[in-house]
Subunit: 436 residues, 3 copies
Amino acid sequence: MDSPELGNNIYSLIEALYPICRSITGDGFRRSMDILKKYVPLELHEIASGTQVFDWVVPKEWNIRDAWIKNSQGDKVVDFQQSNLHLLNYSLPVHRKVPMDELKEHLYSLPEQEDWIPYRTSYYKEYWGFCVTHRQLQSMTDSEYEVMIDSSLENGHLTYGEFLIKGESEDEFLISCHSCHPSLCNDNLSGMGVATYLAKHLSQVNTRYSYRFLFIPGTIGSITWLCLNEKNVKRIKHGLVIACVGDPGIMHYKKTRDGNAELDRAVQHVLKNTGENYKLLEFSPYGYDERQYASPGFNLNVGNISRTPHGQFAEYHTSADNLDFVKAECLADSYAKCLKIIQVIDQNRKYVNLNPKCEPQLGKRDLYTLHGGRKDANNFELAMLWVLNMSDGQSSLLDIADRSGVEFITIQKATEALQGAALITEVDEPKYRCLS
Amino acid sequence: MDSPELGNNIYSLIEALYPICRSITGDGFRRSMDILKKYVPLELHEIASGTQVFDWVVPKEWNIRDAWIKNSQGDKVVDFQQSNLHLLNYSLPVHRKVPMDELKEHLYSLPEQEDWIPYRTSYYKEYWGFCVTHRQLQSMTDSEYEVMIDSSLENGHLTYGEFLIKGESEDEFLISCHSCHPSLCNDNLSGMGVATYLAKHLSQVNTRYSYRFLFIPGTIGSITWLCLNEKNVKRIKHGLVIACVGDPGIMHYKKTRDGNAELDRAVQHVLKNTGENYKLLEFSPYGYDERQYASPGFNLNVGNISRTPHGQFAEYHTSADNLDFVKAECLADSYAKCLKIIQVIDQNRKYVNLNPKCEPQLGKRDLYTLHGGRKDANNFELAMLWVLNMSDGQSSLLDIADRSGVEFITIQKATEALQGAALITEVDEPKYRCLS
Amino acid sequence: MDSPELGNNIYSLIEALYPICRSITGDGFRRSMDILKKYVPLELHEIASGTQVFDWVVPKEWNIRDAWIKNSQGDKVVDFQQSNLHLLNYSLPVHRKVPMDELKEHLYSLPEQEDWIPYRTSYYKEYWGFCVTHRQLQSMTDSEYEVMIDSSLENGHLTYGEFLIKGESEDEFLISCHSCHPSLCNDNLSGMGVATYLAKHLSQVNTRYSYRFLFIPGTIGSITWLCLNEKNVKRIKHGLVIACVGDPGIMHYKKTRDGNAELDRAVQHVLKNTGENYKLLEFSPYGYDERQYASPGFNLNVGNISRTPHGQFAEYHTSADNLDFVKAECLADSYAKCLKIIQVIDQNRKYVNLNPKCEPQLGKRDLYTLHGGRKDANNFELAMLWVLNMSDGQSSLLDIADRSGVEFITIQKATEALQGAALITEVDEPKYRCLS
């Protein structure tokens, strides 16, 4: 699949998901998972409200049918049907006349962006409210309004989608996306779209690692999953939280808690070799679900890849994070970079030079130019010399790529040539095949 | 005590000490200690001349009553009563007529500063001499002068003052000041003044460490103390030599021999968070008494805090290092920074997260904002998340402050809040109370 | 010997070697060694063709008597007697008329440098050819030429020269020069000249290390030597490949595979203290014989010292790398720097302070200024204080020089003074004398 087609396909998936009012529980989340199931065989899990998950409790399930505010003339001045962001997410049901003085306590707007609706939630404090444009707020001059929220907050379930692609090894690479935001495209329909297409691709090739994809509600979802899967968490060797990957900004990578994990080095290698601008961010315990994966009791090597990071674009958590804000070509580019990162990790093996004393004679194996006297070795010959020199069983191909300044893919191909000539052998070669 | 009052108080103490002619032994040193005893209950130690202290011997005690040079008309052209710097410190007694040719060998002046008297000593070579302004020297055109030094150099004692404030632990924080210079304000009445007020404060609060204050003659004093207290030296975990802290220059900190000791990191944290300019200096075995504390047989983590370092201000070791050169507000500022450094070290404990798997739910404990969707956590919430994430029993609060970029005091308050909610506990909690 | 005389002497040796047609085997190499034997008592080794050396086989011996190309008028248009670079090194014998179309496949020129002859070889592929100026090539318009190469490629020997200077220790410092290039001055008659004079000097002084000099054919020579001497290779603690040291460029040093070996630090110390520009290059498994010494099965700490590195000067591997390109003063300068590096390594011992608790009283030993109060210690006093402070048995003199910023030679002299005063003693003092 070429890149423009791929970008368009991811964009189409986002378009299909956009109208649905998702939350951390409820039918909106379920309907979204049903759409993703058309692409990859997601397994849906339903966890009952009230289930204790570490320090937290799975909340009641929230469902929403309709909501509006009518003025004294009976006109809807705020209407959930126009944008599901209008409702404070997880609002309690209500239907009564409310004096404007009281109503103001339940209205949220952005004075600095008059035409944008903010996105606000109240998951853990039972409340109700509406998010409105500042222009709407200013025009609400009646002394009393009729408020209607047709929602339910009752015992039910928290839903999440999971998909495991088995590789040669039981060691896992985790890809995690929060999927609980309503009509917000970059945060995080973009991550859901890119991750879905990564899952689709990886399920069709052979890999060393097993790849686990999680489509979960933010925070409570990762906590729930970690709690229910506690005994297998140690299988996760690397992980990426994918979010905000559809805007035109440069790539950002927030490092793992370790800060110098294999994943951190792989991402840096890939981003550096793009020749494009990018930015590395140090780990911080604030952000997306990497917070939970990196809690000291788990300490997983999970990084966060994005274009413009959360909170750093004006459209963040507003109605302006819409279908215009994300671009097919940016989605395709994010996908390609994520896949390269995964490929580096998947192929980052260690070898031992079987002819460690002096160089082997590459020329007689047709691996080396036979006429001498030229100024320089070519890049492929140099890559072979590096692999031979550093294959002491301790250095990985990524170590060699980083030290030599030669791109991983060239090092990897040189390795194949040398392995073909029986000059090197993999250390503790596991039984897996190539990722293509 | 507010800062201006404190600065004035330190300045007043310096004024009281200024006229006294101190040396490495003798009554001038004793009288100075008597003045400090009005502030803190110093214990005075008297060590007999001739006592072997490592490679050195406690010298004879020197006392001075008067000294002058008279010209052929009988006028005093150089007079110890005008400035005790006029005498080469530790001069032998003499009273005779001296031809100018011979006298020149005993006169010290500063050609580049015509009106300043240099400060010179001859502790370990028996000699006599006078320090004069260059203008004085140039006006001494007689062929012969009458020279009188009414001093004594006899078996006696070396004196030093010591004050131990017991904390919860026997581990010690050492504060050391050379106190042997005569009328020189920045070097080192400023250090004596700031140290005295630190001792006064620390004796009134509860501390984790025990604090040992030494007011000693330079070099021979620290050697003597180390020799006499050799078996307890290992209790000293951190130490500061305080000197030259009254001038208007920026703060300088000379690192410990280790270069990356807890103290070094604490000082850097405090100075960096002032937002003011400062300069870090690498350790060198030249300077003040940190040379002795850092000798390889002891290797104590003792740094040296100053404003403009010794030898780097024109007034250094001259009569211009006088009461005009040091400023009350600079003394107060140095005091405040030293105290902050001490507080960081004293409170730099380690904790364990009691809920290490995923974040605890801070909201239900009223520690966290309940409405979601905002762009950023506030600084205090961020500090709590950092403390939770890094409290694995290995990282100290200073480690957390440094990694997070959050100021130590905020990290420390977040720690208190989390401890109050029983979410973390101190590692090997010693029985001590707070330093306020 | 003063520096201009030394430079002229090295240059004269290069002049004597220049006309000889060397190759990786043969009489040209032998005759070159015979010239070097007039300076140092080289031992010549002859290794039979066909000898297996690790993955390689010692090649047949190549000898050349004459070679030319005649045009249809019988004029020699290319003549080996004019420059031995005209012949593709290791060319098979041939004597026949060759159509120009075929001949073109056997001609090498440099279009970008019309008057320079390139240097090309075909050691491991049996072939014949001529290297010509581009101007020559363009004037060869005949349809057929008579080609004559009077060479032989037969079983014989590979020759190399070796010289071991025994020091107090069996640990060795290796100096290796490829000596297989025909009329090329910088690469590598310059290295052979500098190494010969280093060997001459070191054989006349007492040294701690033993010094092994190798004059070998590139690649196959070092592989052969390593194979035949495999069991003693571990004696080599440091090594330098010397090449391209006669041009006017700045000094370059390519680090050992380790990258932070004692040798790397010694070279950096010496080059930094010259006050001149220089450049450090990271290790790479491409270059000269350091490639073989640094193969993972040996992993020797061998660096490569040069002025402009191979391949980075236009004259590299062309007839322009001639007697005009190298300069006597550059050769003398390279010699002096190599010797300084060797001296640092040879004298880089460790000491223990015998008076580790506080400073010893240097004044009473006449090692220190007795009058106090000056702004600064002088450099020699500072060097003594550093040696005393850091002589804990772990730090070498180079460690002390690097940390203090004081030049090695001053640290070394301070060490001698302290040792003379019985204040320090060498750790595990071996029985050797000084290198002068």
